[in-house]
Amino acid sequence: MIEVLFYVFAAVALGGALGVVWAKSPVGSLLYMVATLASLACIFVLLEAHFLAAIQVIVYAGAIMVLFLFVIMLLNLGHDYQWDLKGGAFSLLSFVIIGLMAGVLVRQFGENAITEPTAGGRAIDAALAQHGAVGAIAQSLYTTYVVPFEITGVLLLVAIVGALVLAKKGGR
């Protein structure tokens, strides 16, 4: 059952990713992106990352995508339907090269396929059972990674100030 669900969500995510690249209008691209993010959140749940799935929906699909939509509407790009793919040989060449790279990766993963439950998976299941979905990640976030966590707060402050200064009218 879980396998079937995984393949359904994987198909939606891949289709959405294709849509992001091929859609003509920016708003269309954005809606395909929301579909991709939502199905990736479902895959996170299947991989037992419940807290991150919620964050994915709230922060990514909720906040960041709405920010993109605001900018598209602010700049009035909603009816920008011209085909802006860079043409012909270059596009084909880049697709072949990165397709080959992906092929090598997929072959590596296929050769070392993991089927039985692993030590890390059992540790995560135990932490989930003991602390719950939020507590399991908070346990590590507020002890081992507390300094990076504080630095992340400073980074967000810098980003807010930077965005304000950059987008200010007539700003230098």
Binding site: L85, V106, N112, G120, A136, L156
Partner: protein, 97 residues
């Protein structure tokens, strides 16, 4: 399912890279970068099934950095749009030879 998730992550990352290389609309290039970040997040979560909870903590940080990057990047796009009246990167030739 871990292997399948890693393969899916590789495919989404390739699609995102392809989009950044071929699309000329700055906002869609940004969306494709977000696609790449999400592919990496999926790989982190799949590997955290092998290595323990640390991978999920890293995904948390990646999401924070992605939010900061989107805010600053969109501010840059707005400020460039004021100057050139377009978001097509082919028209930004000030630093190009």
């Amino acid at each position: 399912m871990i292997t399948e998730a890693l393969v899916l992550s590789a495919m989404i990352f390739v699609l995102g890279t392809f989009g950044v290389l071929v699309r000329r609309n700055a906002i869609i290039m940004f969306l494709c970068i977000e696609l790449q970040l999400n592919a990496v997040n999926l790989a982190f979560i799949a590997f955290s099934r092998l290595m323990g909870i640390d991978g999920q903590v890293f995904v948390f940080f990646v999401m924070t950095v992605a939010a900061a990057e989107a805010a600053v990047g969109l501010a840059i796009i707005i400020s460039v749009f004021r100057h050139y009246e377009t978001v097509n990167v082919d028209n930004f030739k000030l630093l190009r030879w």
